[in-house]
């Protein structure tokens, strides 16, 4: 058993448990579990997972992300999703009808898109898809960015944190797993939402974060 609980901060090489099972972000040595990262503990039953506290986004299949179109080609769009790998939306992976060579009429350079990661190949090229109506081009509104490792904190347990912010500010908020957040609403409400998002980014280690956000937004 371990004496650590959720939201505890651990350093690389710190002894987490003697015996037991290590999950993500841990390594075993002589039947002892150690932390791999400077990160935060999240217990899943008896399994200890360590989530790193900073770092770049690593694309994973099935993630929903927000990106910006940087190039339009004959059969695909090139998208910047803040990863160091080549990222495309092929016209075979979209749900709407589009003629090859006429891609710019649907999504042009500098447009924002909400898409899903369909495939990550072994050489790390990323294919995005927009097969269902859920994934669309986004109007150019406010976009903000937080550390991608803090996205689970922003969403909260079963979406509790993000739903609190949405309810309190009446803003449309879309969160991409790559750390990009799209916010739409009246100016004052957008400012409030951004304040809340920045609070999560700064005070991610606080176990009572939901109540601090509610306090900030005067939301009961």
């Amino acid at each position: 058993m371990t004496q650590f609980k959720n939201y505890d901060i651990v350093t690389p090489g710190e002894l987490l448990a003697e015996g037991g099972i290590g999950g993500e972000g841990t390594y075993m040595e002589q039947e002892k579990v150690f932390s791999k990262y400077f990160g935060m503990v999240s217990m899943n039953g008896n399994i200890i997972n360590i989530r790193p506290l900073s770092g770049k986004y690593v694309p994973e299949e099935g993630d929903d992300i927000i990106g910006k179109i940087v190039e339009v080609s004959d059969k695909y769009w090139t998208v910047n999703i803040d990863v160091p790998y080549s990222t495309r939306i092929d016209i075979r992976d979209v749900g709407f009808r589009v003629a090859p060579g006429d891609l710019a009429s649907i999504m042009d350079v500098d447009d924002l898109v909400y898409a899903k990661i369909e495939r990550v190949t072994t050489n790390r090229t990323v294919d995005l898809g927009m097969r269902t109506p859920r994934y669309t081009k986004l109007p150019s509104k406010m976009i903000a960015k937080i550390d991608p490792t803090k996205i689970p904190r922003l969403i909260g347990k079963e979406g509790s944190m993000i739903n609190t912010i949405k309810d309190a500010t009446k803003c449309d908020i879309i969160v991409g797993q790559n750390g990009i957040i799209w916010v739409n609403g009246p100016k004052e409400q957008v400012d409030l939402a951004l304040m809340a998002i920045n609070l999560v980014n700064d005070k991610y280690y606080d176990p009572d974060l939901v109540n601090r956000v509610k306090e900030l937004l005067h939301y009961v």
Binding site: K68, K141, I143
Partner: protein
């Protein structure tokens, strides 16, 4: 992925609103620290919001220029550090401009009495070097550099001969010229732009005033109407007084 948010900024700018809830003619908080470099003759560190600038003054002997044999000289240089911006391209754009505009504001206001900086006419005079370093760029380096340069000049002490006591520069405080920078986004004019606002702007105008307008610099592809320029000059005079109070009351 850059978060320029240009379209959103222009959308709220049409209603006269800004990203950080400031009013159109409102500066960010200014924090001045004087005497920060002990091996410079005078120095200052200025924070204008997240824009951070450091200036140092050194007074050295040199040969006066042939057209002004009985005067000292002023040389202002500006250097953006590697960490000031995300991309080298950005640093190249303003790297030359900021130094020249700051130089012009101080030179044309004649705040330093250069006639008193001569040692031997035609042969030897004092050169005042002002070196400005941008440590972080969050927009409006022009105003931050201007305040940092003036604050550094105020404290500068130099020796006329190696044996003499250190003395202040021959400054005329009435003639200190303060710069105010405005940008035009859509139809509205805003003071003290942040970097995102600078990127989204159509045109930029920087005005340095003391008792008169000493220098002006316009940038960007857009234009200002004559009424807008008059408005900016009027505001620059009001704001110059505020900055002067702030600078003279800042702790040494």
């Amino acid at each position: 992925m850059n978060l320029e948010n240009n379209e959103y900024l222009r959308e709220i700018a049409d209603k006269g609103e800004r990203l950080d809830q400031r009013k159109p003619v409102q500066r960010r908080a200014i924090n001045i620290k004087r005497k920060v470099i002990n091996h410079a003759d005078g120095s200052a560190y200025v924070e204008l919001g997240q824009t951070k600038v450091m200036a140092g003054v050194k007074v050295l002997e040199g040969v006066p220029y042939p057209d002004k044999p009985d005067e000292g000289s002023l040389i202002v240089s500006f250097e953006p550090t590697e960490l000031a911006d995300d991309y080298p391209k950005d640093r190249l754009i303003y790297g030359v401009e900021v130094g020249r505009v700051t130089d012009r504001g101080i030179r044309e206001s004649r705040v330093i009495d250069m006639k008193k900086m001569v040692i031997e006419a035609g042969k030897k005079s004092f050169f005042v070097y002002i070196d400005i370093y941008a440590l972080n760029n969050d927009g409006n380096l022009l105003d931050a550099s201007n305040i940092a340069a003036l604050a550094a000049l105020l404290d500068a002490k130099f020796k006329r001969t190696p044996e003499s006591e250190p003395e202040s520069l021959p400054l005329d405080l009435q003639k200190m010229s303060f710069s105010s920078t405005f940008v035009k986004i859509g139809k509205n004019v805003f003071l003290d732009p942040m970097r995102l606002e600078e990127n989204a702007s159509d045109a930029k105008i920087s005005i340095a005033v003391s008792t008169a307008v000493n220098s002006m610099q316009k940038g960007g592809v857009g234009f200002f109407t004559p009424e807008e320029v008059d408005f900016c000059i009027g505001k620059a005079f009001d704001l110059g007084g505020e900055l002067k109070d702030l600078l003279t009351s800042s702790p040494k």
